[in-house]
């Protein structure tokens, strides 16, 4: 599929925003200015950018504990996200949720939550709402390889196929679920195959190649829009940091999980570097143009932290707010 230069730039911009924003949290986490648990998605940007790049604004997504990328790629405001991570009243969840509860209904980001598998059936329900209303929206459910252990995934796959719901099950297979490598939680790491017996159209995609992600996502979105869903997509990728925070879970350190060599191998497959090379090769963008985007993004990230730092905390008197809507 031919992707025009404007779309290439857009995908690059989207990925770079996620990367720069993720890395910008490391310092405030270490200085304890950020206190909530933060699950960084550095290394997995192509999945969020490629899929959301194939969606329209009206489409829905649901995320999990590692959803900064999903939220940003779908169009969620960076300022509001960063402020949420700082626990501020100006955050997208008004400081009540923190990093693991990002939401922006106006751009179709209907929420994220850290209970593994917890939002899969919610996404199923959003797709059901669309099918009842015939509004041609598509819903994407983002979850990790770890979530394949939860029964609710199988229940949702079955029902989605049974009712031809417009939903894309997007599994980001980064080969780890907290402390366990995938070989210790599943017999096969070919996750996409679990969709097949339920009647899902199922594919495995290189999750570090944003063009492949975009291409496959676009086809899946088209199918869903034409009432020919659901689709199950597995994205093979890797998180460059450890499970939570800036600790990289390298073997030999306190958390002692991942071989250093493995991390180095994946570093060579950096999705952003890969796209930069392509853009230069195809002369879609010059080095100057790349640098310009980068400095724009860095500026946006700086402003987001500035906004977060200068924003007020929620007021104690408001502790009881938002339990019920009037």
């Amino acid at each position: 599929m031919a992707v025009n230069n404007a779309k290439l730039r857009e995908l690059y911009h989207s990925m770079l925003r996620i990367r720069c924003c993720e890395e910008s949290f490391i310092e405030p986490i270490l200085s304890k200015e950020v206190r909530c648990p933060v699950h960084l998605c550095t290394g997995q940007e192509a999945v969020a950018a490629g899929i959301c790049g194939a969606l329209e604004k009206k489409d829905y997504i649901f995320g999990n504990h590692r959803s900064h990328g999903h939220y940003l790629a779908k169009g969620g405001g960076m300022k509001e996200m960063v402020a949420e991570v700082y626990g501020k009243e100006t955050g997208c969840s008004r400081g009540r949720g923190g990093s693991m509860h990002l939401i922006d209904p106006q751009v179709g980001m209907l929420g994220s939550a850290p209970i593994v598998g917890g939002t899969i059936s919610l996404a199923l329900g959003a797709a059901m709402a669309s099918s009842i209303r015939k509004d041609k929206r598509v819903t994407v459910s983002f979850f990790g390889d770890g979530a394949t252990g939860e029964g609710v995934l199988c229940e949702s796959l079955n029902f989605a196929a049974l009712k031809n719901l417009p939903i894309i099950f997007a599994c980001e297979n980064n080969f780890y679920s907290t402390h366990l490598p995938i070989s210790e939680i599943r017999v096969s790491n070919r996750i996409f195959e679990i969709g097949k017996p339920f009647g899902e159209q199922s594919f495995r995609v290189d999750g570090n190649d944003v063009l492949q992600v975009f291409d496959r996502a676009k086809k899946a979105v088209d199918l869903c829009r034409r009432g020919k869903g659901p689709v199950f997509l597995e994205f093979v990728t890797y998180r460059m940091h450890g499970h939570v925070g800036p600790d990289d879970n390298i073997q030999g350190c306190h958390t002692d999980i991942r071989p250093k060599k493995e991390i180095e191998r994946w570093r060579k497959k950096d999705p952003i570097v890969k796209l930069e090379r392509l853009l230069l090769r195809k002369k879609a963008m010059s080095r100057d143009a790349l640098a310009e985007i980068r400095s724009m993004v860095e500026q946006e990230v700086r402003e987001a932290h500035e906004f977060a730092r200068t924003s007020p905390f929620p007021k104690k008197e408001d502790l009881h707010r938002y339990v019920f809507k009037d």
Partner: protein, 329 residues
């Protein structure tokens, strides 16, 4: 009892209970997320995998419903399973095997098969972890007939109640709070039980009874020290088990002091404190000089922002304030 005692951290007291019961009884095994990791469940699983091997120390996929069901099923089939959930919030996926199956099994099968399973849920609050990673849900289980629920506050009780839970012939929920893992206390080296269903007086007093659960016992003791300086003599009861409930201990104390403040880390409405309050009003109303007071979390989900966490969580000062109010009413 020839008991050699030394200081041990709460998490290591649990660890010792597991080592000793697994050594003594080959039908005991541990299953749950993180039991092979040195950091996932604190130090509680330290050395178990090395000693007992992967067939009795089973780290699992993220499958709470099936893993809990499997622990229940194995226990029906003659084992004594301990299934651990590193956060009690994750255990909600296992409501069915816990409540529909384990709690009811013995009764609905006319006593033909019992379920000697331990379902261990760890509460992990604060740290801006927000609503799905901070909940104290033990009272939901205490509501259900057929389930026992223990909430140890000290290393001594953590070990003794874990042992008692494993040896009990019924499903027992062992609910501990991660903030206790580092506290140290006297723990005998030998294998011993703390009886399920028995509370303990941690401090004698005559003006008011403070009954507390889990980490709030420590807050209550600090509060009682402060109150003493102001001339208020507070008795502190550590409930230790939510179910069965040590009604006698509590009611006798309140009959003596005439006043009751209840400190529990769950939510207020329909909670532990509500139950205890109803109990004393039913049993010893005539000796009460003031209505019982509840110190609990407000009926609000756990917020992320530390600015709100400070207003949300309860401790010594809330207890002290409540005692003073009860004393002056």
């Amino acid at each position: 009892m020839s008991s050699k005692t030394r200081k041990l951290a709460y998490s290591l007291a649990i660890n010792e209970a597991l080592h000793q019961t697994m050594t003594a009884d080959s039908s005991v095994f541990l299953i749950g997320q993180g039991v092979k990791s040195p950091w996932y469940v604190g130090n509680t699983a330290l050395g178990l995998l090395d000693k007992f091997g992967p067939s009795r120390v089973i780290d699992t996929p993220v499958s709470e419903n099936a893993m809990t069901g499997a622990a229940v099923g194995a226990s029906i089939a003659g084992m004594r399973a301990v299934v651990v959930h590193p956060r009690i919030d994750f255990m909600l996926y296992a409501f069915d095997p816990i409540i529909n199956e384990a709690a009811n099994w013995y009764y609905m099968n006319g006593g033909r098969a019992s379920v000697p399973v331990v379902i261990w849920g760890i509460i992990n609050r604060k740290g801006e972890q927000a609503a799905q990673h901070s909940q104290a849900l033990q009272v939901m289980f205490a509501h259900v007939p057929g389930l026992k629920v223990v909430v140890p506050s000290t290393p001594y009780d953590a070990k003794g109640l874990m042992v008692a839970s494993i040896r009990d012939n019924n499903p027992v929920l062992f609910v501990d709070d991660r903030c206790l893992y580092g506290i140290e206390g006297d723990v005998p080296e030998e294998l011993y039980e703390v009886p399920i269903g028995k509370g303990i007086i941690r401090r004698n007093g005559s003006d008011v009874t403070i009954v507390a659960t889990s980490y709030l016992v420590h807050e209550a003791l600090r509060s009682a020290d402060k109150l003493q300086q102001e001339g208020i003599s507070a008795e502190v009861i550590d409930l230790r088990s939510l179910k069965p409930l040590d009604e006698t201990l509590l009611c006798d104390s309140v009959a003596r002091t005439g006043r009751l403040v209840i400190a529990d880390g769950g939510w207020k409405t329909y909670g532990v404190a509500a139950e205890l309050s109803a109990l004393v009003h039913e049993k010893v109303f005539s000796s009460m000089k003031a209505p019982a007071a509840r110190v609990t979390l407000p009926d609000v989900p756990a917020p992320a922002s530390s600015a709100l966490e400070q207003a949300y969580y309860i401790g010594e000062q809330d207890i002290t304030r409540s005692v003073k109010r009860v004393m002056s009413s």
